[in-house]
Symmetry: C2
Subunit: 574 residues, 2 copies
């Protein structure tokens, strides 16, 4: 075999410049075992790192942010519990447990763990019309899976959800949530899972529309949109006091909507002559959630459903839900941590603990909520301690406000949900995808269609599989640059495989070279340019050997150029 | 964004040399529709291409090769039918149908379609202790899948079976076949599927060992090994006549073993006083197979098993079996076609037709047999017409020899199988894999272990999944070359991702750059070398944009170098 190393700029510069491998810059100190253990504890119980240094300025920042988040979280938690088809109080339990535990273990101060619309809609797709124990079991198992993914450093699995799939998935969930909430907005009563089923039922039931619910719901939506508009014009206001007031007003919009409509309902209920013209939430038990083992069986009427049956019912949910929750946390961490290094392992373990311990508090599956985290950021959060204040607010609501919870109109919660998710709908990515990458467009549209027709969990799976297919196709059929090059004294066939040659692609390379040889009547030698290749597997090594052997039969040589050093060491032809 | 194109040798040479894109060399003629149709028919019914030009020299070559193959195929077919747990006659039906149909459609003259050990052992793993109709249904459906894979050009799926997996799979099947055949060799009677089960049963039953069968079997093995030895010393013989005789003797070794031991059994049976001391094959019906629709239901005692139940029983077999059969044909085509272009689509369609039409002749699943194809090659085959002679030999056996088939000792067939497959056992690849690629070693050993413990079909699946995992890991965590480079007047962080950056890897790249920035205290700009990258997806484009944005926050620039033209067009940063 002949070989030749290109004298490229990089190598030419080798003498002129000094290259410092990165490891040398980061010389780690040697640690004793006792120190290592302490390091480990500090990493896992992150609160130890910042609490001793906690000062007054931080405390004030955290207090304001924590209370703000807490007040936002209460109506959201009630609405998301509604979305997950569980009594509203479980939303608050989840908010309480998530906030406390993340404070102890979390590393990204902005993150607000609690119920989210994404978690709720995935949960309901697996627990729909099942006993409520399914929800707690899902919380527990997902927490375990998240911790295991953290410990085994499997966080990279989340990377297999591509941007087009994330976009398609959130657009679809938003559409599904809105359509599903129309039921509550109009005071209707039916059930359905997929979009066609819900739309069909909606059409059938529209004649039972309750004017009271519909009017209240539409008023609530208009109110929320107006408050959002106030926030939008804030930028044009110069008076700082007015600016600040507008900001807080827009923050409190959900809470205000709940307080106003609940007060109306409460006032109407005082008068025994009037029938309340809209549906109200269920009565909820008062007080903090009891701390107890999550149930591992469920009751369906008189029948006990064993854990194995529950597990087989939920199935893929035990993987999809943790993946989506980690994805949400990763997205938040990325958005707010530029310039800081995120400890992904610790984040996964913390999220896992929020769910594992959360399930002891009868919590729904929780994750970081993007909107609340952004709010936390603008409210000037300083440390994860803000979560303690949010938890206290949730606790206050649970102890003091529960008597009034059953006066919250369902249509109000529907309006809050609709206004929270409609911004997620984004079709503007579609033409960009079409322009930049047809295969990405395919995974985007496949995910949307499957979400609509077969539900969000199937849609997410389809999206992931389609985008993985892209990788497969690239691996099996990498592009080849191939032409006959003629210089004054020399002619050869130039072949350059793009990207890696792994086993699924090597046979194609061999075949294409064979075709090139046949078409040029075995007249020219081959120059194989491996510039794009930086790793190679056993099958590909064997394939390259076969190519050399093939050509020997016709007394032609293969010339390898630009071979990576690591590959060169492994290539040997006798 | 700053950009810079490396003036590498390739581009520098652009003016000095002439580059001819490959398409220009292969200008295809424009064809009328009628001509196109005729081209299509000629492609699908390949016999049209060579039969009109058939001449006497070719006919002689084909006759010798065809008869040779036919004589080899008869004992093999009986043994492979035995291995697949079906009456011996179905092996001959398969040989007959495969040979005829491939002659009409096949393009590689060396290929001999018929029963093979690989097909038999996979078939039996799905049809074990099921009614025989399962086998015919498998033949039919696998034929359909092969044709569909051909028409849809899904042949590249076979590329996802890597060399280590192929090697592990054939070693495992050989071991399993040998251990399973010990039962017949020793005249024992038990059943078991996985290796531990078979070995356990063998140990329990060894006390029932029949001396007659064992002696006959061991003699047959010794005879076959001696004949193989004769073939091996052939090279050292100078006398051409002796050389030729040794060659034909070694070819006929299986047939000789069958004829000799069957004659002994026949002679013993003539004497009513003697009990034959070894087990014989079942009686088989005489004559050619009837041409009829394959059954789509099976009878299990009095119960009719519907097609849907059969399909769910076979399940993954409908994909694995076609993949292995195509793999076998591809391997043969590659081995014998160097310097010729193989029409993979036509090969898959031809193989599919062999099985679809074969199922009308009550055929077992068939594929190209490597050993017979090699034999065909050395026997001087000229065109696929040789298959007709093989089919005639099979037909003669079916019409004339069937009365004697039930005198064939089972131990002889076991000896033939053991001698046929023991050469497939190859552990020498293991240290090579360990040295060249740990991940390949993992898929090799995973495949072997799973084959042994859970059967060949599970083993093949495990092997394929493990080698695909390799691709995933490479895609998610491509190697990064990253260092700080200091020249006289300039310092920067040099980052070069190896291989493609697809969506699973882009976040890691962004994170590593972030870590590098933090550790160097945001002092140096980044130079991102995309020399190894030749394609990019939407998520990665967005990721690169995010990296640029991240750095802008710290007033640092990202310099892209060696950007592929196609990628350059799609990158745009505002």
């Amino acid at each position: 075999m002949e070989e030749e190393r290109r004298k490229d700029i990089e190598l030419a510069n080798l003498n002129a410049s000094e290259k410092i491998p990165f490891e040398e810059l980061l010389s780690e100190k040697e640690l004793k075992i006792s120190q290592k253990f302490f390091e480990f504890v500090k990493r896992r119980l992150n609160v130890i790192n910042w609490l001793p240094k906690y000062d007054q300025t931080q405390a004030i920042g955290d207090f304001i942010a924590g209370v703000t988040i807490g007040l936002t979280m209460i109506p959201q938690s009630l609405a998301y519990a509604n979305l997950a088809n569980v009594p509203a109080v479980y939303g608050l339990y989840s908010a309480f447990a998530g906030s406390i535990i993340y404070t102890l273990m979390g590393t990204v101060r902005e993150v607000s763990i609690g119920p989210t619309s994404l978690m709720s809609i995935i949960t309901v797709s697996y627990t729909y019309e099942k006993p409520i124990e399914y929800v707690f079991i899902m919380t527990f198992v997902c927490g375990c899976v998240e911790m295991i993914m953290g410990i085994l450093r499997l966080g990279f699995l989340v990377d297999f959800i591509s941007i087009p799939v994330v976009s398609a998935f959130s657009t679809s969930t938003a559409i599904l949530i809105i359509v599903a909430q129309l039921k509550n907005l109009f005071g209707l009563n039916f059930s359905g899972k997929s979009l066609p089923a819900i739309i069909l039922k909606l059409g059938e039931n529209i004649k039972y529309l309750r004017v009271g619910d519909a009017m209240l719901g539409i008023c609530a939506i208009m109110f929320l949109l107006f408050m959002k508009y106030l926030n939008d014009i804030k930028a044009k206001v110069s008076n700082p006091i007015l600016k600040r007031s507008l900001f807080y007003l827009s923050l409190a919009k959900n809470a205000l909507a709940v307080v106003i409509t609940t007060s109306i309902a409460y006032a109407l209920a005082k008068n025994p002559d009037i029938e309340i013209p809209f549906k109200l939430s269920e009565k909820v038990p008062q007080g903090i959630p009891s701390f107890k083992l999550p149930p591992f069986t469920a009751m369906d009427g008189n029948r006990t459903i064993e854990f194995t049956e529950i597990a087989s019912d939920i199935g893929s949910g035990f993987i999809l839900l943790p993946m989506v929750s980690i994805l949400a946390n990763v997205a938040i961490a990325k958005a707010f941590s530029s310039g800081k290094i995120v400890d992904a392992t610790q984040e996964m373990i913390a999220l896992g603990m929020c769910n594992v311990l959360g399930s002891f508090f009868q919590s729904m599956p929780t994750a970081g909520a993007f909107t609340r985290s952004a709010l936390s950021n603008v409210s000037g959060v300083q440390t994860p301690f803000a979560g303690i204040y949010s938890a206290i607010i949730a606790l206050l609501a649970l102890t003091l406000l529960t008597p009034y919870f059953n006066f919250i109109p369902k249509a109000t919660l529907a309006a809050i949900l609709i206004c929270a998710v409609y911004t997620l709908i984004d079709f503007s990515i579609a033409p960009k995808l079409w322009e930049k990458s047809k295969l990405d467009f395919l995974s985007w549209s496949g995910c949307i269609i499957a979400c609509m027709v077969a539900g969000v969990e199937a849609g997410l799976l389809v999206g992931i599989l389609l985008s993985i297919l892209n990788i497969f196709i690239k691996a099996a059929r990498p592009n080849l640059l191939i032409y006959v090059e003629k210089t004054k004294d020399h002619q050869h066939i130039y072949v350059r495989p793009s990207s890696g040659i792994f086993f699924p692609g090597i046979d194609n390379l061999r075949e294409q070279i064979n075709i090139a040889l046949v078409k040029t009547e075995f007249k020219f030698p081959i120059t194989l340019d491996l510039i794009k290749i930086s790793s190679i597997d056993y099958s590909s090594l064997k394939g390259l050997e076969s190519i050399v052997k093939d050509l020997k039969k016709f007394n032609l040589l293969v010339k390898f150029i630009n071979v990576d050093e690591k590959i060169q060491r492994r290539l040997n032809f006798n």
